[in-house]
Amino acid sequence: MMPSIVALPLAAAEIPTPTAALVTFIVYSIAVVLLAVASQVVLQKRAFLQEYFLGSRNLGWIAFTLTFAATSASAGSFGGFPALVYNHGWVLGFWIAGYMAVPLISLGLMGKRLNRISKVTGAITMPELIGLRFPGFAVRIATGMIIVLLSIYLVPQFKMAGVILQSLLHDFAFWQSASNALQQMTSDLPMFQADDPGYLLGLLVFSSMVIVYTSLGGFRAVVWTDVLQGIVMLFGVMGLLLLTLKQVGGLGNATQTLAKMEPPRLGKAIFYTASTGPQVDPIRVPMDSWFETSDGRLFRTNATAYIDQKSESPPSDGTDEAIVGTVLASPEIKTVEIQGDAEKERIRNQLLAGQVPALPPGVEVKLLEFDAYAYGAGRTGVYTTAPGPSFKSSAGFLPLSLAFSFFLFWSIGGSGQPSNMVRQMSFDRVRTLKRSMVFLTFYFGAIYFPLVLIFVCGRVLVPDLIRTPINHGRLIVDGRLGRERTLVGRLADRRPIRGGDVDRRQLHVDDFFIAGARCLSAGRRSRCLGSNREDPQLRLHIHGRNDCHAGGDQPAQVLANAGRVYVRRSFLVVPGSGVPGRLLAALQHHRSFMRNAFRLLHLCFDVRNRVSDVWEIAGV
């Protein structure tokens, strides 16, 4: 009997504060600093140039192997490659097959000669070595190409580091404070306005660490941090593989499920609801929501839908009857339509506990045009065979000619990569090269093929997360909360909202909601919330004029006057009076209860999509 897949929670789930991530980051940072200091100590005892640029050419086989491996495994290996496996299936095992020859060709082709010539000539950089072999203008061109191409190559590495740091640490108070400080510092620089300050902070921290340890310890520090990364990558992949296989019920189960999958159809949908009057609570359909139409078509949204745009007529594709009257509609939302009866049945039974959840009350959906895959549409088995499904190419993801090219690209390309060539100049002797070739063979085998296994299983566990969502950084206002007019919002893309840019009719929200207005007018920190330092989950950062104030019935005006609002996490702002205010004032003295209450509120908000419902559920 085929084991069933463990059902995943599909409603908004509570995400614990990633303390482990913070601890890991701190430990890693300390380790990097210690390695840099140790490298500096070594550097002081040896000839500067040889040590600083090549580690005195005495790398042993473990250091040489792991620095070579960590250099080869870039952000693409752990960022782009898994996404390709997820989207195209088992054919990625063929796509990456060239790595089987990387240890042989990359090290065997030039390693020995490069190392020897650099030692004989005393060259310590690639341009120097090229200049000795090809004197003249050619070396300048080669050097220019190395600088330009490696700079381009480094961009995604740094970007991914910034994104990861921001993702791991954005919940922490110190990170939020630093982000806001950075935001204030860069507020007058237009080139940074489009970026999340948290991401910029991550980029700054990572770049600073790299610059510090590289400057301090030179090549040896780079190698030792590579060793650290190489170990982390190896054990990380092994651990993830075991967990994934356990979750999916075995690789055979995953492959058999994948073999029954058909590529989905990709399109867009508009969610709308009839307006009930001048003030309508904003309704939200969360990202990754499942929904089903009456004719049995099953869909998953790949972006959050905010139903907040007033329209005199509902969205229409010309096939349905028009609904007369004012409606509120969402923008066009990227949506995936699941194909294949077997797959739909599996999702319903195993992932949705037998029933597709209903859309929020009163919400209708208008399906726009959905396009089939150019290759693989309507066919099962395309995820387990070559060339793999492709949305754009009718030849499939990996035609045979491209497979041939990629084999050569991986195996030969690595040998000529400047960062690899420098490392081949730095090992101590040929015996080290031989041992490293053996070790690297095992290492690549333990990294790349398991990544294929992991993300093939990933598609079965979490299907149809195919498309990059578009976040809308708008605000929605004018919800109602009892007698109080409320300001209800979520910051979709975690970007700062400038008061002057706020669309007063619309309030956007992804991570927070605000109810009430008077506390905003009170200044930067509401007395209702106490000190920001007490609970990082209740942080509201308002940068702007202190003298902004407005009545409680003009929340949009308050927000507009507040200048810039930047919020990181779920929080609630209430008026100084009224039921919500009393609730929060009481909760303020019971932090643990308050934290749970906010989680409940957040969860309720996601499930019910109506702020008033949230309050009812919360017992207000």
């Binding site: 000839a47 050419r57 088992w90 054919v91 095992g93 063929f94 097959a97 060239g98 089987m100 020859a101 240890p103 042989l104 060709i105 065997g108 082709l109 020995k112 000669r113 020897r116 030692k119 004989v120 075995g250 690789l251 055979g252 189960n253 995953a254 492959t255 058999q256 073999a259 066919r379 099962t380 088995g381 395309v382 387990t384 065979t385 070559a386 060339p387 045979l400 497979a403 041939f404 084999f407 050569l408 195996s411 101590d428 002797r429 040929v430 015996r431 090269l433 031989k434 041992r435 070739m437 053996v438 063979t441 095992f442 085998g445 093929f449």
Partner: protein, 115 residues
């Protein structure tokens, strides 16, 4: 005409190549042959067996589609051949450089002592 040929013409002596260079050439031939065989086997096998329309008729092997499993086997075989190449074919012909390193280190130590 390269520098080696010029030297040989001028002295009428047979070309004296660096033994390490000759070893590297020999190893290069092994690398080329092994790499080419791996390429041919992988692409040819994948081409004949991976590009099929009837996926369900293909059995699984250790939970993988059989054609992928065969690609994995070629990965394993290539790895084993790489081990053989590393252990038995590559020659450790850098003793002269090790002597050079030792001499450099001795000279550096002497300089530091004098300083």
């Amino acid at each position: 005409m390269n520098s080696h040929q010029q030297t040989a013409d001028e002295t009428d002596d047979p070309i004296q190549y660096d033994p390490s260079y000759l070893n590297s050439l020999r190893e290069l031939k092994y690398v080329a042959v092994i790499g080419t065989l791996a390429l041919i086997w992988t692409v040819a096998y994948g081409g004949f067996n991976g590009y099929v329309s009837d996926a369900e008729s293909k059995p699984l092997f250790f939970g993988m589609p059989s054609w992928v499993a065969w690609e994995l086997r070629s990965w394993v075989i290539t790895s084993l051949v790489t081990l053989w190449f590393a252990i038995f074919i590559i020659r450790e012909d850098d003793d002269d450089l090790l002597d050079l390193d030792i001499a450099d280190n001795d000279a550096r130590t002497d300089d530091e002592e004098h300083a």
